[in-house]
């Protein structure tokens, strides 16, 4: 199995999602509140996994723009759950040695006095291993 295929299989396994269920209706992209910030749009994300183009996903901005708000998961008529696929791609990146979406040294300047613990914990969970 090629590396790309292998990565795609990994994404399917981690997310527990079968991207082939997608009927390309675009409801995820119609729903996504972060749509305009994303370079690879949610519906494209599903196609990329189908086609095994994981390299592009790993390098995409979208990975770090998804809010995990589950709106796409809730409204997807085919139960494809694009949000889970995006998270699985993120996992593949942050589980790779030396890769992370959030370096500890960049944190201090991001903080203000009001930041709730919950925010830090959540961001760490999503962006780091």
């Amino acid at each position: 199995m090629s590396h790309a295929n292998n990565q795609a299989e990994k994404i399917k396994a981690i997310s527990g999602v079968n991207p082939l269920k997608c009927m390309k209706c675009g409801k995820c992209s119609a729903t996504c509140p972060a749509f305009n910030e994303m370079d690879i749009k949610p519906h494209q994300f599903v196609s990329y996994v189908q086609n095994g183009d994981i390299e592009a996903l790993a390098n995409s901005k979208s990975l770090w723009k998804c809010l995990s708000c589950f709106a796409c998961v809730e409204r997807c008529p085919r139960d494809v759950q694009p949000g889970r696929l995006i998270d699985a791609a993120r996992q593949i990146v942050v589980r790779t040695k030396g890769q992370t979406g959030l370096a500890p040294e960049e944190i201090p300047e991001l903080l203000d006095s009001e930041v709730p613990q919950q925010l830090l914990v959540s961001a760490f969970r999503r962006y780091r291993r």
Binding site: L67, S68, C69, D87, A88, V115, Q117, V121, A123
Partner: protein
């Protein structure tokens, strides 16, 4: 009536009032919240990967403690509620996660999702009853026009959380009516505030909160209430429409006449 209570990290630090008002209100309503001993942080977000086990264990510990006490587990923070309820659903319905989590835990009796997880609002709706709550209100917030801000974590995915209709919820509106105020229904009440994105993408989160506040104000809301410290933080960053944001427990305590006790 006694419940096992899971406060979570933020309620012990930045959001102590969310917690304190809830405890005072619970007392006034005749139920007791027994804090989980040595609870550990839920992680703030639900680990979506089907192979992530360790990050689900803190929830399992809290769930198991409630099971051993034979009590329902009550949460207050939307994020804790979301994480613990979804982990509980995994423990109940996903044999793989259940087996692997129990292998870690080495409990005397394996945990299989027996505990009933309730959000404080669900306790008010399903255990106390909004009619009873209404009767116990001594200081009705008559004339106040309040917008409920649900956000994502309380509602979605609807099938797992089973909290309310994820697209057209009513529980906080019913709560608002019970404390004597008038709910304002606006379409952005279940749209995301930006969540954890606000750590780095401040502008993006602010834009999203602007939209929420603008919509609420447009429909006549004078204030917003929420159950989530992160939503509160993000919403307060937006200066759109001078809409104050409160924790729902603060208004509850006020209506029950126990707000002063807390301060």
């Amino acid at each position: 009536m006694k419940y096992t209570y899971y406060p979570g990290c933020t309620l012990k630090t930045k959001a102590t009032d969310l917690d304190a008002y809830a405890r005072a209100s619970a007392k006034a309503l005749g139920f007791e919240l027994e804090e989980v001993e040595n609870w550990q942080c839920c992680g703030g977000v639900y680990p979506l990967g089907t192979d992530e086990i360790a990050s689900k264990l803190s929830s399992v510990r809290a769930l198991n403690e409630a099971k051993e006490k034979g009590q329902d587990l009550v949460t207050l923070c939307s994020a804790c509620h979301h994480v613990i309820k979804r982990v509980n659903n995994d423990m109940k319905n996903n044999a793989d996660i259940r087996t692997r989590a129990n292998n870690y835990m080495q409990l005397e009796e394996a945990y299989a999702g027996e505990t009933n997880v309730l959000h404080f609002l669900e306790v008010l709706r399903d255990k106390v009853g909004f009619d009873t709550l209404k009767e116990k209100v001594v200081n009705p917030l008559t004339g106040k026009k309040i917008g409920a801000y649900y956000g994502c974590l309380l509602l979605r995915p609807g099938k797992v959380l089973g909290f309310d209709n994820p697209e057209n919820p009513t529980i906080i509106e019913d709560f608002i009516r019970a404390i004597g105020a008038e709910p304002v229904i606006y379409p952005y009440r279940n749209e995301c505030c930006g969540g954890y994105i606000s750590l780095r993408e401040k502008e993006m989160a602010k834009n999203m909160c602007d939209k929420i506040k603008e919509s609420a104000a447009g429909f006549g809301a004078e204030m917003l209430i929420t159950a989530c410290p992160l939503c509160m933080y993000n919403l307060n960053k937006s200066d759109e429409a001078a809409l104050p944001v409160y924790y729902f427990t603060e208004l509850l305590a006020e209506a029950l006449g126990v707000k002063e006790e807390v301060v």
